[in-house]
């Protein structure tokens, strides 16, 4: 029994470095494996649609004819399935969070016709 069982810890806190940081002036370092957002290296993408099929939230849309790869960042839950399953390893998980957007629309990326380019060369 007794009171002030937390006294030592609370008073000790006065002489310690604060546990909190002054966000947003200061931010915490991002660990390497943090799940921020999915990035596609369009140079290597072959538009095979495997990522779109594996995605649990149907966030990815692949248009083979129009040669575009689109991701709806508002649907993506950063599960990493697409990154694991991509046969060309062109998807990566960037540790930075996607910045806020004013409109809820997917980010569309044009995929260049690399095979053809190579054939011409």
């Amino acid at each position: 029994m007794g009171s002030f069982k937390l006294g030592a810890m609370t008073l000790g806190g006065l002489f310690k470095k604060p546990e909190t940081i002054q966000y947003p002036a200061q931010t915490k370092p991002m660990p390497a494996g943090l799940k921020g957002h999915v990035v596609n290296d369009v140079e290597t993408c072959i538009l095979c649609s495997i990522c779109a099929k594996r995605c649990p939230t149907s966030a990815i849309e692949v248009d083979k004819k129009g040669r575009t790869w689109a991701i709806n960042r508002f649907r993506c839950v950063q599960c990493g399935s697409c990154v694991r399953e991509c046969p060309k390893q062109c998807l990566t998980m960037d540790p930075h969070y996607a910045s806020p957007a004013t409109q809820m629309e997917p980010s569309v990326f044009d995929v260049p016709e690399h095979e053809k380019v190579q054939a011409e060369v």
């Binding site: 069982k5 810890m9 660990p31 494996g33 943090l34 799940k35 694991r84």
Partner: protein, 362 residues
Amino acid sequence: MGKATVIPFGPQHPVLPEPLHLDLVVEDEKVIEAIPQIGFVHRGLEKLVETRDYNQFIYVAERICGICAFGHSMGYAETVERLMGVEIPTRAEYLRVIWHELSRIHSHILWMGLAADAFGFESLFMHCWRLRERVLDIFEKTTGGRVIFSVVKVGGVVRDIDKLQFNEIKRVLEGIKHDYNQLCKAFLKDTSVKNRTVGVGYISHEDALDLSMVGPFARASSVNNDSRCLGNGGYKFLSDFQPIMDGQGDCYARVKVRALEVLQSIDIIEEMIAKIPEGDIAVPVKGSPADGAESSNVVEQPRGECYYYARGNGSKYLERMRMRTPTSQNLGGMTKVLAGCDLADVNMIVLTIDPCISCTER
């Protein structure tokens, strides 16, 4: 004797992290009956199993609850692995136990903070959540997420923890242990805390058994029902496991059981880190669950035993996925405890069952 009055408690109430409604029938300052009502956050997650294949559903399963996210993904994966007869690598089983026990630590410390907040001990609340933050940082570094981890998959886990990270986990846990022991002293020895918890919300061993209570709520009434004893998954590698129990059956006992379980979890993690073998972390899983195949599984979540049932239909979509979560088991006990208590103790009693409503409603 006064006139009976009904006082609504919740679904929005400062003490409740989640929406639960209670109709409290009071006479003077005594509660004579409590009628619970849930259904404010139903999301129909079990139904989603029809439109997400068994690999994708794991990300739905872990969204059942924000606190036991890891436990649900592990429970679901184990159930599907049983359904398909998949043996996962030993290292993956160890890693699952380590993450699951870390979840238990963060869940219990979070709960202790909420309890401190409920009895008005704000600095204790802050200290609890300060420590919990360190556990979340471990998660952030090892899984890439703080609350939802997405590290389990059917057939194993998707990330490994290396030696360096294990050393850091051990160092952080040592630091937590030191501070945590002081918090425990405040929770278990401080007069002002004891005044709010000792003898409040008593439930007997017989009632606890009758009402099929689970988890720390039941263990505080000496019901030995820790499903970690069954040795499912990686728990079979533990050299010794004795569930923490207490016979007092009041709020103080429930605080005590949870407080000691955190230390027990730290010991389990240390043992697992010392014994973890090298090897693969996942096996490839091909095919679909057979038509009519059934399997079930129990996992000891921070709030108690959670039961999983799955049935296949020959396609990659499951026919049925069912979970019975600990809070739905404990609501009966809660109404029993509330009948006869003081109105001022209601918030303390509701909190000590650690209700998780979004688990219950899914």
